[in-house]
């Protein structure tokens, strides 16, 4: 055994640096991220790390370009035949990776599966009543209410093979009551650009190019040449970057901000920056009559618009942008970025940084000496989340609102805010459906038990006018709907239910010979990538 160690060590010495990088295959992308997907089931966990692997293998009916605009996927065309019936014409001659022919049955099956109680993708089919097969390559989707953004939502529903799912006893997403592991947790059978070759959770997942994929002939992919994808997650920040610097990794999805300058200056490496569809803001308990974590007794200062505005005025967003975020943020006065349908520049205006005005507003509201408050914050969820909170605490303390930061890892943090056990907290919100309704509904609608309404509204903001506008967003279409969104944005600006901070920017780090378009949903589309 000892002899072996020494032989191995000696061999390592002799072979030297070049050998360690492994045989460099021109078109293999070795890629890493902090976390692996927890499951490969297409309808089980609606999380970015899962979609990251799913979207390489599975296709939706309607898919996205790198700029996130819609394009035909497994459906070649779609029309709103009636207000509550959409017709989808399917692509012919497509086969799943294991050989099954793709037909309308698979579409009906997959939409049913996404509608199942154990599905985590319900929000993307919340308006769907049922899907009906018209013929082998035509499907009608009947809706409960008119839904102008159905195509946007369906871009998140991946299509599975019905016979494959039935044969493997996976007709419903994983049920936690089950004692058995479901086939779909570690196996994939899609129609997409890459097919799964092997899967070792947390260690190595290998994909190979699906030469039969219809999309290779289409826009964006004609130059793409990636033959193999090897995904090896690395949890430790330092090791992830070391892997890139030492040549063991070609692409890092989530490089730590403090390493970016070093990576930019390293020979042969490149940092690609772009905006993310995620906005960071501060929300407040505006429901209770007395805050849980404050020294104000008998009243809730957050219910007073003047206090909310004072806290807003106190924030120097440019300082956060420059120092805390090192330039990697887009300060904003609203709560979703321009890529989202319904955004308008006119309402994206911040209250200016003005500590004097902030102090005056506090005095006017009856708190000339300020008050004490606890700001809750995750410390491993968003980019520099804890540091942002500390900066804000300092700014608020300067106007007399003595702020204590309570930063925790995401697991206890989310558990706590979901019990409404919070007074002021920092949250980030991504918009996968790319429509304003998704944000308004989850964050600002009155919580009433309906699907999606106010489920992330832990400050329990409730405003009947806002609710009315949200109802209009759900049912109306065209200019009327846009008008409702803009009106709601104006209300957001004036009523200050949140203090918006910035849209996140996401840097990707990679080898200079890898060409890949940046995508604002933080999903590298390797079907558009090229390695020289």
């Amino acid at each position: 055994m000892i002899g072996r160690v020494f032989r191995a060590a000696a061999a390592a010495l002799v072979l030297g640096a070049g050998a360690m990088a492994g045989p460099v295959q021109a078109q293999t992308v070795r890629w890493t991220a902090a976390a692996d997907a927890n499951t490969l089931d297409p309808h089980s966990q609606n999380i970015g790390s899962v979609a990251l692997l799913l979207q390489q293998v599975y296709d939706p009916l309607i898919t996205r370009n790198a700029d996130l605009s819609l394009r035909p996927g497994l459906a070649t065309s779609w029309t709103e035949a009636e207000p509550r019936r959409w017709r989808f014409v399917l692509r012919q001659g497509v086969r799943f990776h294991e050989g099954q022919a793709f037909t309308a049955d698979d579409v009906v099956f997959s939409i049913d599966r996404a509608l199942a109680p154990t599905s985590n993708y319900g929000i993307f089919v919340d308006t769907v009543e049922r899907a009906v097969k018209v013929d082998d390559f035509t499907v009608d989707i009947f809706l409960k209410i008119a839904d102008p953004i159905l195509p946007n939502k369906l871009a998140s529903i991946f299509i599975m093979s019905k016979p494959w799912s039935e044969a493997n006893n996976a007709t419903r997403p994983q049920n936690t009551r089950a004692r058995e592991e479901m086939h779909t947790v570690r196996n994939m059978n899609g129609t997409g650009a890459f097919r799964l070759v092997s899967r070792e959770q947390d260690v190595r997942t290998v994909f190979r190019r699906n030469a039969d994929w219809y999309g290779w002939r289409e826009q964006g992919s004609t130059e793409a040449n990636i033959q193999e994808l090897v995904f090896r997650p690395i949890a430790s920040d330092a090791t992830r970057i070391a892997g890139l610097l030492s040549g063991e990794v070609d692409f890092v999805l989530d490089p730590p901000l403090q390493d970016l300058n070093r990576l930019r200056n390293a020979p042969g490496l490149r940092v690609l920056e772009g905006p993310e569809i995620r906005t960071i803001f501060i929300a407040m308990d505006v429901f209770r009559d007395e805050l849980l974590y404050s020294d104000v007794r008998g009243q809730n200062p957050m219910k007073d618009l003047r206090v909310r505005r004072a806290l807003y005025h106190a924030i120097d967003i440019q300082a956060i942008h420059r120092t805390t975020m090192r330039g990697f943020s887009v300060p904003t006065g609203t709560f979703f970025p321009p890529q989202v349908n319904g955004y308008t520049q006119a309402q994206d205006v911040r209250l200016p940084h003005d500590p004097t005005r902030a102090r005056a507003l506090l005095a006017e509201a009856g708190y000339p000496n300020g008050f004490g408050i606890t700001l809750d914050c995750p410390n491993n969820r968003y980019i520099n989340d804890e540091q942002i909170c500390q900066a804000i605490a300092a700014m608020w303390t300067r106007i007399g609102v003595r702020t204590t930061v309570r930063a925790q890892p995401l697991a206890p943090f989310f558990a706590q805010i979901q019990r409404d056990d919070v007074s002021v907290y920092l949250l980030g919100w991504g918009v996968p459906a790319l429509d304003a309704l998704y944000s308004f509904q989850s964050l600002l609608a009155t919580r009433n038990g309906a699907q999606g309404d106010g489920i992330w509204n832990y400050g329990r903001y409730s405003n009947p006018e806002m609710d009315a506008l949200i109802t209009r967003m759900k049912t109306q279409s065209g200019p009327q709907r846009t008008e409702a969104i803009h009106e709601a944005l104006r209300m957001y600006r004036e009523d200050v239910p949140h203090i918006p901070l910035h849209h996140q920017m996401i840097p990707w780090a990679m080898r200079a010979n890898l060409q890949i378009p940046h995508a604002a949903n933080n999903q590298p589309f390797f079907r558009f990538a090229r390695m020289n």
Partner: protein, 327 residues
């Protein structure tokens, strides 16, 4: 002897139960698995359903009793995070951790003992001083820093060794081993050094102290008076007598190496049980965390038992004491 084993096993039971209870109670504070499982979009009804499915709505002691009952049968349920059986997950990860731990322990012994002997014999040589300084670094630098420094040196600057992972593995009857491939050996070097460095310095200092102690005793003087060679005195008489505490400590430290491989595994993305545990903590994956903690407790209890038995075999006084009690 048999009665001794039985009594130790009976003592182990409350230990295991206490560990189970403590770990289980602790989980109330690690976060809400439901929040993590549901993701961003759900209804209140879906949430309640999931809470009921997981049995989280039942009183604490009912949950605990169920857990102990199932654990006693080796049934730990499905991981919340990965939707796979916990026993299977741990069985998949155990080989990586065990290979790493054994390799680290081997390094610690193979290097630590000779260094200890040398520094014990030649207290004032410059090499001894160097070893002692070096051991101070090993004791005082935190593991993750050592790991990162090694990665920086051997992976990033020199490019000799991989910075993460296990290399290629070969599966032999369910045991995935990295010991049969070159890349597996290369991948093992840095993590083993990182993990074993503390134990190495500990063993070195222990052997040194014991050697110095033993070298002062009468029988060493008599051995020298008999005209034995230095070699016979140092290794035949002195080292042999220092090894009893060294074996004890090494046995106990092996448990510690396996349990505390967590940090090393995280730094090197070594796919062992420690990495699994850390990732489970992040997702509040209670079934995996409790199974892991129980397994570690069981391991410590077992190692302690073996060490006790070794004492029993080695030290005649223990046997006599027992014998008297039996009369």
């Amino acid at each position: 002897m048999f009665a001794f084993i039985i009594s130790r096993l009976l003592q182990a039971l409350p230990v295991m139960l206490t560990v189970a209870l403590l770990s289980f109670a602790m989980f109330a504070y690690v976060g809400d698995p439901v929040a993590i499982m549901l993701g961003q979009d759900y209804t209140i009804a879906q949430r309640d359903q999931l809470v009921a499915d997981l049995g989280l709505d039942q009183p604490f002691f009912v949950q605990f009793a169920k857990f102990v009952f199932n654990a006693a049968q080796g049934e730990f349920g499905l991981s919340y995070r990965l939707s796979r059986p916990v026993a299977q997950l741990i069985a998949e990860r155990a080989p990586a951790t065990l290979e790493l731990a054994l390799c680290a322990a081997f390094l610690a012994l193979a290097i630590g003992v000779p260094m200890g002997v040398y520094t014990g014999l030649y207290r004032n040589s410059w090499l001894s001083r160097f070893f002692l300084t070096f051991s101070l670094i090993g004791v005082s630098l935190p593991t993750f820093l050592i790991g990162i420094l090694l990665i920086l040196t051997f992976s990033v600057w020199l490019g000799w060794l991989p910075s993460f992972g296990r290399g290629d593995t070969v599966n032999i009857g369910g045991w995935s081993t990295g010991l049969l491939t070159l890349s597996g050996w290369k991948a093992l070097i840095l993590p083993s050094i990182t993990l074993g460095l503390f134990q190495l310095t500990l063993i070195m200092r222990l052997v040194r102290a014991e050697m110095m102690e033993v070298l002062r005793t009468d029988y060493i003087k008599f051995a020298r008076a008999r005209g034995l060679t230095n070699r016979a005195v140092h290794f035949g008489h002195a080292l042999k007598n220092t090894l009893v505490p060294v074996i004890t400590i090494t046995g106990l430290q092996l448990g510690a190496i396996i349990a505390f491989a967590i940090v090393t595994e995280t730094v090197f993305q070594w796919p062992g049980m420690g990495l699994l545990f850390i990732q489970s903590v992040g997702a509040a994956d209670i079934p995996v965390m409790s199974a892991y903690l129980l397994l570690i407790a069981l391991m410590f209890v077992t190692i302690n038992l073996i060490v006790d038995l070794l004492y029993y075999a080695v030290d005649p006084r223990l046997r006599i004491g027992r014998g008297k009690g039996a009369h």
